[in-house]
Structure formats: C-alpha cells, structure tokens
C-alpha cells in the first residue's frame, strides 16, 4: 500500500509539471485562438535566461547572497519574457490580425525555431544548473499509518504548491476580471472584439506576457530538477496529450489532465510494465490522448463543440 501511494505521489508531482507547461498552451489558445507551438521554446529560453543570469550577476557584481542573485535573475528573466512577448506581438502577430488559425500556427512554428536559436546564441548551449534552493531531501510521511512511511520528495511538494498558486491566480484573472473577459472575447472573434473597443494588440501582449511567466515558472522548476538544456523544449511535446485530455480552453482542465497523465504514466509503468516488458511510460500519454480524441474530442473540460449548419 505504501508503495502504491509512493508511486501515486510520484505521478501526481510529475503530472503537476506537465500541467504547468500545458497551462502556457491553454492560456494563449484561450486568449487568442492561437495554438502556440513556441511554448516549449519559451520554457527553454526562460530557464536559460534564469540560469545564466543567476551565474552572471554574482560574477559581475560580486554579490555574495545567493538568494538575492536568484531574485535579481528572476526579475531579469521576467523582463526578458515581457520583452519577448512585446517583440513577438510587434513583429509577428500585429500583422496577422484576422488571419486564419493555421496561418497563426505556422507563425508560432517560425517563432519556435527563432527563439530556440536566438536563446542559445544569447545564453549558450551547454547544460546549466538552476539552484533556487528547493529542498532536495526526500522525507517520510504518514509513518504512523504505514510501516516505514511513504517516501515523498520535498522538491515536488514545493513545485506543486507553486503551481497551485499560479493556477488559482490565473483562474481568478480569466473568470473575474474585465480583462479576462476581453481575452476570451478576442479568442472568439478578432473583428467583433475590436468593434467593441477591445485593444487587440495590448491584449496579445498581455497574454504572451502571462504565458511567458508561466513558461518561466515551468522552466525554473523543470530546470532545477533536470538541468537546463535543449531537451527542455521537448517537454512541450509531453504537454500535448495533457491538453487533449483536459481541453484546449480550460485552465482547470490543463491541471487535471496533467495529473491524470502523470499518475497514469507512473502507475501503468509500475503495474502493467512488467507484463509487456516495460517502456509504457513513453507512449502511455499519447495512447490516452488518442482514446480521448475518439470519444470526447473536446477533452474533459473543453467547451463543447457546437456547429450550426
């Protein structure tokens, strides 16, 4: 039983990380109807920026305090992501108002390669470390109930908390504020949104900024766990099934979808893996996504697809 719980927790935590990346996709799609292929690249570049400045700032200024240099590096990274959002809007999106979704998708594909290359030119392409002082030691919990207790990774717990706070803030923003409503309006119809005085350009900058912050948080957490390296961009691919599961337009969906996939991967690997010779973890998420596409194409929480003929 304790082993089952350990696997479950492990899965939940891994799922939380998928959720964070999926969240970035959902945000941009919800607010502009664009499937942003560049989300993975944004996670990478945000993490690179954070990792490098955390090294550079003490080297340049002789700052001793690790905490302070981490905070400064974070601030620089936020500014960097904002600038990136602004540049993307200015140079790419602004010229594509009222274009088909496919056009915008292709544009984000271009942005992906640009950010990948540019980020590594700027910050280098080695493997870097992010150390924001996350507690690394695993602890045993519930040892009153199970013999020996359940092994939990503290780092994962902190990451989960951060993700939870982020999600709560974003839900409030989308559901309760006028700007949130304007964002949803823009996603539905650019033309109509403009006609009621919603500033399309500003909305796009806002949403790419928010997605940038999400990418940064995801990048820091992933980066401090696995190191910052090019393979971080492929994290984005892991998030795709999460979005299909949760629904492209749902913030809670991204979270639940991530958790289901995280838990599913771990449990299936541990309990089904031996039967088929292992390796389930790699394809399980995609398989689940396929099943969902068959029976519930809008995902668990997505807006129902209504088509009047």
């Amino acid at each position: 039983m304790a082993f089952f719980l350990e696997t479950l927790f492990g899965g939940l935590m891994a799922g939380m990380l998928y959720s964070l990346v999926a969240l970035g996709f959902v945000l941009i799609f919800k607010a502009s109807g664009v499937f942003n292929f560049a989300q993975g690249a944004m996670v990478l570049v945000a993490a690179l920026c954070m990792a490098r400045f955390a090294e550079w700032i003490p080297a340049w200024t002789g700052l001793e305090s690790k905490l302070l240099s981490n905070i400064l590096a974070f601030a620089v990274s936020v500014v960097f992501m904002f600038l990136l959002a602004w540049v993307i809007e200015r140079l790419v999106l602004r010229h594509l108002v009222n274009q088909e979704g496919v056009t915008l998708l292709m544009a984000t594909l271009g942005i992906t390669y640009f950010i990948d290359g540019f980020g590594q030119t700027l910050f280098g392409s080695d493997i870097y470390k992010i150390d924001v002082g996350m507690p690394k030691d695993p602890v045993f919990v519930l040892d009153g109930i199970f013999e020996g207790g359940v092994l939990v990774n503290q780092e994962d717990v902190v990451a989960a908390l951060i993700a939870a706070v982020l999600v709560a803030a974003l839900s409030l923003f989308f559901q309760k504020t006028g700007t949130g409503r304007a964002l949803r309006a823009v996603a539905d119809d650019h033309q109509a949104a403009q006609s009621i005085g919603i500033p399309l350009n500003r909305i796009w900058v806002i949403v790419w900024c928010v997605a940038g912050i999400t990418a940064l948080v995801a990048g820091i957490i992933w980066g401090s766990k696995l190191g910052v390296q090019f393979s971080l961009t492929t994290v984005a691919l892991r998030a795709l099934p999460v979005i299909i599961l949760g629904g492209l337009t749902s913030v809670p969906g991204a979270i639940i979808g991530g958790l289901i996939i995280g838990v599913g991967e771990k449990l299936s690997e541990v309990y089904l893996g031996p039967l088929v010779g292992g390796g389930i973890e790699i394809w399980f998420a995609y398989m689940l996504a396929l099943v969902f596409l068959l029976f519930r194409p809008q995902g668990l929480f997505g807006e129902k697809i209504i088509d009047r003929v």
Binding site: T179, R181, A185, A192, Q194, S195, I196, G197
Partner: protein, 260 residues
C-alpha cells in the same frame, strides 16, 4: 412619435474605396443627423457593407473624409472608432460563441471598466460596486431585448434570430452615440423581422441613439427610416425621405431593372 432630429453628427464626404482595380465605392457623400434613423439601401453588391466598414474603421477609404461630431478621421482602426462612441453589429454574426449571453453583452462594457485588475480579480471595494453597476446596465439591456431566459446560455447554442438580438445588445452595452446596423434583418422570418424593427425603433426612441441601418429589404426600411441613401454599383443614386426615394427613377431602375 415626435422626436427631435438634431444637427449633423456624422458627415461622410466624397468617399471612394478601391480594392486593386475594383471600385467598391465612388465619391459617396451623405450625412447623418442626431437621433435619426438613416438607412443605406441598395441591391446586393452595391457597396453598402463597404460603406459601413469605412465608417467603422475596418477599411480605410482611398479618398474622402469622415467627420464624426466635428472630428475628422481618415486613419482610424475599429477600436478607436469604438472609443469615439460608434458601435456596430455584424451581417454575418460575429459573437463570442463560447461565452454566455451575459458575458457577451458585458464585453460591450469593456471600454467603461475603470477599476484595476487586482481589485477586479478579488471582487473587493470599488471594483465590486463597479461590476454591479455594469451588470445592472446589462440586465436592463437584456430585459429590453427580451432575452432574460437565455442569460447563461452559450451564444453558439441560440437560434439565429436570438443571436442577432445578442449582437444588438452587445453594441448597446457600449452606450454608443451612433449605432451601425449591418443587415439586422437578413435571414429572418416575418415575425423576427417585426421584433427587430420594434427594437430598432425603441432604441432610437428610448435611448435617443442615432442609427445607421443597412438593409436590402426595401419594405422594412421605408417604414422605419427618417432618411434613406440608395447605392448601386458603388455610386449614390438617391438620397432623401423614404417617399422621395421610392419614386426616384434611378432607384426603381436599380431595383427592378430596365426594360430593353
């Protein structure tokens, strides 16, 4: 009905619009006076929607100027036009389909929301009061358009006639001075048309909103308009009170064709 028609509020001067070699509009001039219902009619392809899109800032005219309340604009986008107090509805519905009726109409209040994001998100203090005030206005519009029963329904699920009403409601929520209606009665049955006519007259009457109406159904237009502009092949062929226009030779020819 004894309404007072005011001064010229919107003045369109010598507007031409070309798409490549195609002349959509040629040298069109007309004005709109405060509180009136001004219609632009014409057969299909006459350039009615192009005209409206020029006023609305979707298209930038190749030549000519548009003056709204003494302010002339030639390079305006839709949003700036909205800020000046001109709202519009769409011929092919452009509603936010995934959002509820309330949210659609509330989105029309976007320009009027003043309190900051944080307060809004937490629903505290002035933001709470502001939200309630906006909501009250929106409820008033919902009552007015008789769509109370569909408040929470996603707009995409409503029948066409009701969607048209929501479209009107969203424009009304902006409390515009001029309301541009692009074929509000297209594709409606008789009963729906009558309802829509009643709403348009009431908006004009109760809110005092100036209305510019595009329609190709002559009958409807003649009954509710104060003055009518007639376009054909991008040119103005008639302008005046409904009765004058009805007896205008060119207009009759445009609608009925000439005998050869």
């Amino acid at each position: 009905m004894s309404k007072v028609i005011g001064d010229v509020i919107l003045d369109v001067k010598n507007i031409s619009l070309r798409f490549g070699g195609v002349k959509a509009l040629t040298d069109i001039s007309f004005n709109v006076k405060e509180h009136e219902i001004r219609s632009i009619i014409g057969p299909n392809g006459a350039g009615k929607s192009s005209m409206l899109n020029c006023i609305n800032g979707v298209y930038t005219p190749s030549e000519g100027s548009i003056t709204f309340r003494g302010q002339t604009f030639d390079h305006m986008n839709s949003r700036q036009v909205a800020e000046m107090g001109i709202a519009r509805t769409f011929q092919n519905l452009a509603l936010f389909k995934g959002m509820s009726v309330i949210d659609n109409i509330m989105s029309g209040r976007n320009l009027k929301i003043k309190s900051n994001l944080l307060l809004q998100a937490l629903r505290i203090g002035p933001a709470q009061r502001e939200e309630e005030a906006h909501r009250e206005k929106v409820e008033h519009i919902i009552d007015f358009l008789e769509i109370q029963a569909f408040r929470k329904t996603p707009v995409g699920q409503l029948p066409y006639g009701l969607q048209k009403r929501v479209d009107l409601g969203r424009a009304l929520a902006m409390e515009p001075q001029v309301l541009l209606l692009d074929e509000p009665m297209a594709g409606m049955n008789l009963e729906e048309k009558q309802d829509m006519c009643r709403f348009i007259l009431d908006v004009n009457d109760e809110f005092g909103t100036t209305i510019v109406l595009i329609e190709h159904d002559m009958g409807v237009v003649m009954d509710i308009s104060d003055r009518v502009v007639v376009l054909d092949y991008g040119k103005k062929i008639g302008d005046g009170a409904p009765d004058e226009v009805r007896n205008n030779e060119d207009v009759i020819r445009a609608y009925l064709g000439t005998s050869h």
